[in-house]
Every structure is written in C-alpha cells, then in structure tokens.
C-alpha cells in the first residue's frame, strides 16, 4: 500500500512537471503593448537596393488617450520610417533593429506601390503578401503616382486622430463619390488570378497646389474628352484644384495587365468602371443642361441593379453588349427649366443617358485600344460559354479583348426631384431671372 501511495505521488509530480512545462511554453504570447502596429506600407523602387519600404506606425499613446482630446496636444499620432531592402520581410527585419517593439502587420490598412514599381510589375509582392498571415485580405492596394514614401509622409489626418481611420474612411469614400474603387487586396488578387479580368488599384498622390493662385486645368483630362472646362471627374489624384490641411488625396484607378501597371483611369472613367462592374453605389453626376448652354444639371445617380453583359464572338472578335440601369434624383437645375414635370423628364433622362453612354463608350474603347485590359471583367460572360477549363484556357480571352467592340445601353430613370417639384424663375428689377 505504501508503495502504491509513493507511486501515486511520483506520477502526480510527473504530470505536474509536464503541465508546468506546458504553461511555461506560451510561445506565441505577445502583449498588445509589445508590438508596433503598422498602418500603411509603402513600396518604392530603391536607390541602393531593390525596394525602398516606408512604414507608418500608429503611436498608441497619442491615439489611445482619448480623455484629453487625443493628439491635439501636439503629439504626433503616427511615425514614418523608410528603409531600403531587397524584400518586404527582410525590410521588416531591418526595421526591428531600431523600432523598439516588434513590428506587427495585422492592422495594416493600405499597401502603397509607387507607379514606377507598379509599371515594372508587382506580381511577386502580391503573392508574398497573400502568403503572409498577418497581411489582411481587406487591405487596400494603392498606387502612388509619384512616390509612396512621399504620399505616406503627407497623410496627416485632421478630422481624426488615428491615421488608420483616415485610410479606412477615405478609401471607402468611393461608395459616395464613385471616383475610386474597392481595390482591397483580395479583390485585386482575385481579379488578377481570374483568367477573365484584369486588376485595378486606387490612384493616390500628394496634391501640389500651394495656393489657390496656382490652380490650372492643365492637368485635367477634360481636354481628351473635347470639353472646354473640366467636370468634377476629369482629374486624377494629385491634380484636384484645391488647397487645405490634408495634402494626400486619392482619385482614379491604376489599371494592371497581370501584375504590371499599364495605365490610369480618371475619376469619371472610374465611375463608369464601377457602373460596369456593379460596384457603383451612388454619387453626384454633373452634366450640361440639354437646352440651355453653359448651365448644369446635377443628378444623384444610383445603381440599383447589376449590369447585364452579353458577349458574342463575331468573326473572331468579341462583341460586347452591356445594359446599365440607373436611377437618379435631381439635385440642381441651374437653368430653371421645368425638367421635373412628368412630361419633360424624358428630356433630361435622354440627355443623361446620352452623356453617360458617350463617356462610357469612350472609356471602354480606351480599355481595348490604349490599355488592352479587360478591367470590367467581360470575360466572365465569355467563360460561361465554355464547357471545360481546357477549352477556355486555349481560347485566351485576355489576348482577344483588344478587338472587342461595344454596344452600350444606359437606361436611366429620374425618380425624385428633391424638395422642389416645379422650378419657377426668380424675379428681379430686370424681370424674370434665372438662378
């Protein structure tokens, strides 16, 4: 019996030793405050090495102490560091030598490639990022038109303390502007990997204008569209005529062929891209008044149905038919014409349809001739017409896209006029006056 008791004790001790071994082995345990959280990653072409990596870290003490109004007491809410490195991961290793805390990427919101790098191809980086557990698939992919480093340095949010929130809010703005896209990493990756579409990334840049006197329309894309004055969508990031606290801005999309950037879309084209892919939520669209010259009509356009695509092969070249159905509310009629009236509404509808159709055709033709990239994923429809994967692969859609011809059918219905249902002119000493 004594023997039994001793044995029991011994085996208990063994078990306890094993358990204590377990508890000592908290291998992965890392406290929240032991980590440095990267918010943005910027990748440029390096001078002394392959890559120049810029990391933006959140400073928790500046952001987290909400009681005293946060970073208003002059504390910087983020710090930026740049390192030249052969690969992303080796760069992280190098950064850890002077950032006291271990770098953690799980809260990175954006990854920014410089245009230069993107034009050389970013396929290998995308793969590395997809492999890494810490990179979120919901990160946004950006292409900085000049330099990623410069862009990150100029992200100094003024409305919020936390730069992470700035990125999140700013990049989601496409839902109500229509000027950028949902270029999350996963979307980028899926577009890139799908054999039926090409990827896009949001264009970002630092605004150059110092004073309002510097404004010019030189950089606007209005000229290409035979327009004498730019509409709100005729810009790309960096050229919006504006000054203010925040210098960073996003507008337009970078178009990729595989992993290589081949061109840019301006704001208006991006709107059409969103309409074609069904990602468009709503935005204001300004169009010239159909009757009175030099006056504008502003519509709040929404897309309530997915676009319908039909692709046929005719004489070896794709013939694409797209039907876009939009709804709109009137926001402003500068001419004071009574377009709200049910009898007149079709005039405005027709004008808006023509305007959008024209712009869209221009944009689509640009994708075939200039960019040669099926960004709107018309290939998806083509794909369904094949039975096996082998046939589809041998068809080589992406190569054939450049011969595509388009037929666009925009169907816009004006539903509501806002609070004014009959426009009446204002009266002055000169009689009726338009407003």
């Amino acid at each position: 019996m004594v023997r039994k008791k001793v044995l029991r004790k011994v085996s208990t001790i063994v078990i306890l030793c094993m358990l204590s071994g377990l508890s000592a082995g908290c291998y992965d345990r890392r406290e929240i405050d032991d980590l440095a959280y990267v918010i943005a990653i910027g990748l440029d072409k390096g001078k002394s090495n392959v890559l120049k990596m810029t990391l933006q870290f959140a400073v928790p003490t500046a952001i987290g102490n909400g009681q005293e109004g946060g970073g208003s007491n002059g504390e910087k809410s983020s710090i930026v560091t740049t390192v030249e490195t052969p690969t992303i991961y080796s760069g992280l290793n190098m950064v850890n030598n002077y950032i006291s805390k271990q770098v953690d990427l799980s809260h990175a919101k954006v990854i920014i490639f410089s245009k230069e790098l993107a034009q050389e191809g970013i396929h290998q980086y995308i793969h590395a990022i997809m492999r890494g557990r810490e990179f979120r698939p919901n990160m946004f992919i950006l292409v900085a038109r000049d330099s990623a480093e410069e862009y990150i340095k100029n992200v100094k949010p003024s409305l919020e303390i936390n730069p992470a929130k700035y990125y999140e809010m700013n990049l989601e703005a496409f839902k109500y502007t229509g000027f950028t896209g949902n270029t999350q990493l996963i979307n980028f990756y899926l577009q890139q990997e799908c054999t039926c579409s090409q990827a896009v990334a949001t264009l970002a840049a630092v605004n150059r204008y110092k004073t309002t006197g510097d404004f010019t329309v030189k950089h606007s894309t209005a000229g290409n569209k035979s327009r004498s004055y730019p509409l709100e969508g005729d810009f790309k990031a960096g050229h919006i005529p504006r000054v203010g606290e925040v210098h960073s801005e996003i507008m337009g999309l970078a178009v990729f062929d595989g992993g290589t950037m081949v061109g840019e879309l301006d704001g208006e084209e991006t709107t059409y891209y969103l309409m074609q892919t069904g990602q468009y939520h709503y935005s204001y669209i300004t169009l010239p008044d159909p009757i009175v010259k030099d006056k504008f009509v502003v519509l709040n356009v929404t897309q309530n149905r997915k676009p319908a695509h039909r692709v046929r092969m005719e004489d070896g070249s794709p013939k694409i038919h797209a039907n876009i159905r939009l709804d709109a509310d009137i926001l402003s009629i500068q001419s004071g014409k009574n377009y709200e009236y049910a009898g007149n509404v079709h005039i405005l509808e027709k004008a808006a349809e023509d305007f959008i159709e024209k712009g869209m055709l221009q944009f689509l033709e640009r994708t075939t001739t200039e960019l040669n990239a099926d960004v709107c994923a018309f290939g998806k429809d083509m794909k369904g017409q094949f039975l096996t994967w082998k046939e589809w692969q041998e068809f080589k859609w992406l190569e054939r896209y450049k011969d595509a011809t388009f037929e666009i059918d925009v169907d816009l219905k004006i539903r509501r006029p806002g609070l004014i249902i009959r426009s009446k002119p204002a009266y002055s000493t000169k009689g009726e006056e338009m407003y």
């Binding site: 377990l22 345990r29 406290e31 952001i63 809260h107 936390n162 992470a164």
Partner: protein
C-alpha cells in the same frame, strides 16, 4: 523518471497479453503482480470499481414486462408508505447503535432503576438543560411515584404544565367511570390529554424523543414509558427567501422547521398523492428528513434510488442540507452542482410536479431537489410567473451572464495575447496606450483584479452589517480608481472584471455560480497559454465532463445530450404556458402529460 513513464505503456500492452494468454490458468505470479501494480499506478489505471451505477432507464427502452413490474410496485409500495405516514413516529426501529452494551434496552418496572438510568444517560446533574421533575400520582386510590424529563427550551412548558402535570397530579384522583384494569391504557386513555403520545418500552425511542423535544413520563411499577410530543422551541418565522428573490411570485421561503416546510409545499400542491416519507439521518443526531415525491408521477426507480442513498448514510451528526447534498451527490469532482438547493417552496412544488424528488432536512431552510440538469440550474422560478416573452429575454440574458462569468476574462487574455487582429484598430490602440505604463503581463493583471474581486466578495459576506456599505465604496473606489491611477491595471480591464462579476451574480443558482467562478481561472490559464485553442480545448473537456456526468441517473445535459424532445423550447427558451404539455422526457415520469393539448378550455368552441 520520464523514461520509465514513456516506456512502460508499450510494455504494458505486451505484458497484458502475456498475462492474459499465458497466466490465465496458472494464477498470478507474485513478482509479476507487483510489476503489474507498478504499471497500473504509473498509468493511473484503477480497475473499474464494482460500484453500482444507477441509470434512470429511458421509458422507450423499458420492455413492457419491466413496465408492468414498475406499475405493480407502484400499486403496492406507496400504500405501505401511507400507513407508515399516519403513525406519528417511524415504526421501524433504528439500529441500536448508540446503546451501551451492558445497559438495559427495555424499561424496568422499578422507577428508581429507570431514574438512575436516565440520570446516567443524560449525565445529570452536570447537564444543565435537562429538567427532571419527580412527583406522585394517585391512580385508583394507589399512590404511584413518577417523574418526567425533558429538555428545557425544546418544549412548550405551558403544555407540559397543563396537559401532563396538571392531569397527572390533580385530576388523576377524580372518579373516572371506567373499568379499565391496565394502568397503562388507563392513563393513556383517560388521564393524559395529549394528541401525540407514544407508549413504549424501549429506551432508544424514549431518548430519541427526548432529544427532539419530547417529554417522557415514567411511572413506578410499570415497564412502560409515555412520551408526549411537546416540541416548542424558538424558531424563525416564514420569511422572504434570502437567496432567490423574485419580483413576481410568492415571497415565502422555507424555515428551519421540517413540518413547517412540508406544510408550505403541501399548501401549494394539495394532492393526496404527495408523499412525505420520514427518514432520519445521523447515527447520533437522528436528524429527521422528509423525502417528498408525488406518488403517481415520479418514477419509482428514482424514488428508490434516493431512498437507498439516504438510508445508507452512516454519519454521526448532520447539521445542514448542504452536508446531505455532498453525501448523496453522484460525482464529487464535477464542476457543477448535481442537486438543486432551493429556499423556495414554490420551486420545490413545481419540480415535484415535474416528477422530481425533494428532500427536506430538519434544521435547514434549503430543500434539495434531485435529479437536476444543467438547464434547471439556470432557470429561475420567476421564469414561469412572468409572461413568456419576458421570460425568454431573461433566459437569454442569463445565458449571456453565464458566458461572461465563465469565459470573458479568459477570452480577454486570449485576444490581447494571441489574436490582436480581432480587436478593432481604435480599441487596440486604446488598450495599447492604457497598458503602456502597466508593468505586469495582462494575465497577471487580470489575476490581480479577479482575486481582489473575489476578496471583496468574500469580505462582503463576512463583514459585520453596519460596515457593509463602506466595503462597496472601498472596493469600487480603491480598487477601481486607484489601481488604474497607480498604473497597476489598465482601465479596460476593470470593465472586463466588472462585467464578469455582474455576470456571475446574474446566475440564479448560487452553487452553479461558484462552479463558474472557479473554472474562470482555468480558462484564464488556458487562454494565456495558447489563446483560443486553449479555450476551445477547455470547452471541449468541460463539455465532455458535463455530458459524461449524471445526476441520479439522469444525464446532466439531458435534453440536448442525449437529445430528447422539448430541449430548445423548454430548457433554453420557454414556450407559452399552455404549450408546456409534457413533463421532461429524461425523468421518465409515470404520467407524461402535464396538461391536455388544449388547456385553455375557453378557446374551444362550444
């Protein structure tokens, strides 16, 4: 050591074969059996003990013949019980365990002998609260000396004066027209106007009665004693229950008096089929207990099992039903109570009506109800008193409370140490900022706070009344505010600990709350070890232990594992009262239906 530990298992296997095939017919070899024992111990292997495991058979399994048997016993047994209940005292003699071997077991004819015996038995005159009164009575013109004996304070003195002493001393010489020759029957029939009078010849019974508020009367010349039940001690009145408060519903709770308690239940049920069997527990204390069940609802096997367990207890003294609970529960190590202790007669009544068994112990205001399942422990009596939509909200809040009190600190540790990506960025940075000046790892931090919280809790119970409110202030202010200001803990952690604490108070069953309070620390440890995986393993093992457990033959997680009908509608949510048509299937009651399909008669068209 570890070498041995890891190598033995394989050899054990091989060895077992050898033992099985080679030594099967030769008998054990001594050295080998030593070795065998060694290995068994090293592997924590105990031969399964030959204890009987009670399984409350599912009625669908029971073959018809068994059912028949059960029915037969149902017809015969309770009748016997009924008879025994009518007798004022339990007729079965207790095993004379307390008796001195050379002492007389039966009462002597000579008063002096009886007097001496009683004096030695009760250590008179050392024993101060025993009253011994000697006097003479005149019966049929004969003077007989007599004495009475009782415990001062345990009896109603007025009754002794009026119904024992007065008739014996004054009225006994009245001319009573009777031809009664036997003095015993004469006295019992004519002289003592007592409603509960026992005539006995055994000391054991006399002593048991005296110990429990009886008054014994010895007369010279007869070998019989009269014991009058004149219980009357000071006790608490029926008050509001202290631990199970409800807004809606009856507000009376059990007291320490057995018969008051049984009456409280009987008052609610008013059913002649409600049986209250007397069982006394304690070799010395003989504490009376009542086992309650409804004869034609409760499964006989269950009643027998409870009776068997209660009668088998060998213990000297028992003071509270808490001790009794520990003596009859199935599994000592299970992290959950297997018997429901409640202060509320309405709750006991409701459970008896479902087909459960209740045990009430004299001296304890907590009745024990068995068997109990996990889900009954998270119910409150109020659930059935308020309208069913409200009750369902309460139930979900309670489930949330359980999850919080069990898992929240563990989850916090797991998330902040392993799964940083799960926290929204703003919150993450806020936590990081608040933790910046805290010197401890978060697991230590949370242990500090949890332990302080447990301290406040324990102190709050032990603290003398008037100082009570100050403790709350001290706890809240000092620990909450000051700990944060001193950078010992981060403010977010105070929120976690507070929510956990509130959650644990929202669990209706005190004992269940205890189980979760203890396990919370286990989950903190597991969460700190490998994050969510640890907690998942913890939940898995916890779940396995609970599913493997049984309370009086009923699986602990009964309506879900094993699955029987009505799990979701009766145990987690609550169906409207007219929808609760069946008694819980896992209890296998004799009467399965609680009410007809349409219980609201006015709904029927005439």
């Amino acid at each position: 050591m570890s070498n041995v530990f890891f190598k033995t298992p394989l050899s054990e296997c091989i060895f077992r074969f050898k033992v099985y095939y080679l030594y099967r017919y030769r008998g054990g070899v001594n050295t080998l059996s030593n070795f065998k024992n060694f290995i068994k111990n090293a592997l924590f292997f105990n031969e399964p003990q030959k204890t009987e495991h009670f399984i409350l058979t599912e009625s669908q399994d029971a073959s018809p013949s068994e059912e028949q048997n059960a029915g037969d016993t149902a017809n015969t047994k309770p009748d016997a019980k009924k008879r025994s209940r009518r007798l004022p005292r339990k007729t079965q003699a207790q095993p004379p365990l307390t008796q001195n071997e050379n002492a007389p077991l039966t009462i002597s004819k000579r008063l002096s002998e009886n007097l001496d015996y009683m004096k030695t038995k009760y250590s008179l005159p050392v024993n101060g609260d025993i009253v011994l009164r000697e006097f003479d009575i005149i019966v049929k013109h004969k003077v007989i000396s007599a004495f009475i004996m009782f415990h001062d304070g345990m009896v109603e003195r007025k009754i002794i004066n009026q119904t024992i002493l007065q008739p014996l001393m004054l009225l006994s010489n009245l001319d009573i027209k009777s031809t009664e020759e036997d003095i015993v029957s004469y006295i019992s029939k004519h002289i003592l106007p007592q409603n509960q009078l026992i005539i006995t010849q055994e000391y054991t019974e006399v002593i048991n009665m005296v110990n429990f508020g009886g008054c014994v009367i010895f007369l010279d010349g007869i070998n019989t004693a009269f014991v009058a039940d004149v219980k009357g001690w000071e006790h608490r009145n029926v008050q509001r229950p202290n631990t199970e408060l409800v807004i809606r519903g009856p507000q009376e709770g059990f007291t320490e008096i057995l018969r008051v308690n049984t009456a409280l239940i009987r008052k609610i049920l008013r059913d002649e089929n409600l049986i209250a069997e007397n069982i006394s527990i304690g070799r010395r204390s003989h504490t009376p207990c009542a086992m309650l069940y409804i004869k034609d609802i409760t499964n006989n096997a269950l009643v027998q099992e409870v009776r068997k367990r209660l009668e088998s207890i060998r213990i000297d003294y028992i003071t509270d039903s808490g001790e009794l609970e520990q003596l009859i529960e199935d599994n000592v190590f299970l992290p959950a109570p297997q018997i429901l202790a409640t202060e509320r007669p309405d709750r006991v009544a409701a459970m008896l009506a479902e087909g459960k068994v209740a045990v009430i112990m004299s001296g304890s205001p907590f009745a024990l109800v068995m068997p109990v399942t996990f889900f009954a422990l998270i119910h409150s009596p109020e659930d059935s008193y308020v309208r069913f939509t409200y009750a369902n909200l309460l139930r979900f809040i309670r489930i949330l409370a359980i999850l919080f009190s069990l898992l929240l600190p563990g989850l916090y540790v797991a998330i902040t140490n392993f799964h940083h990506e799960l926290i929204p960025t703003d919150l993450l940075l806020a936590i990081a900022a608040s933790r910046e000046k805290v010197p401890f790892p978060s697991i230590v931090e949370i242990l500090i706070m949890e332990i302080s919280f447990e301290l406040i809790r324990e102190a709050g119970i032990r603290i003398p009344g008037p100082i009570g409110p100050t403790l709350g202030i001290i706890g809240a202010l000092i620990l909450g505010q000051a700990a944060v200001a001193a950078n010992i803990v981060s403010p977010i952690l105070i929120v976690i600990v507070a929510v956990t604490g509130i959650g644990s108070f929202a669990i209706p069953n005190f004992s269940m709350g205890f189980a979760f309070r203890i396990l919370r620390f286990v989950y903190i440890g597991l969460g700190g070890m490998v994050g969510f995986l640890g907690i998942a393993v913890g939940l898995f093992i916890h779940g396995l232990v609970l599913t493997g457990a049984k309370s009086f033959g009923v699986p602990f997680l009964a309506p879900f594992g094993p699955k029987t009908s009505g799990g979701l509608t009766d145990e987690i949510t609550r169906a409207p009262i007219w929808k609760q048509e069946k008694r819980p299937d896992f209890l296998n009651p004799k009467d399965k239906k609680e009410q007809p399909t349409i219980s609201k008669g006015w709904m029927n068209k005439k």
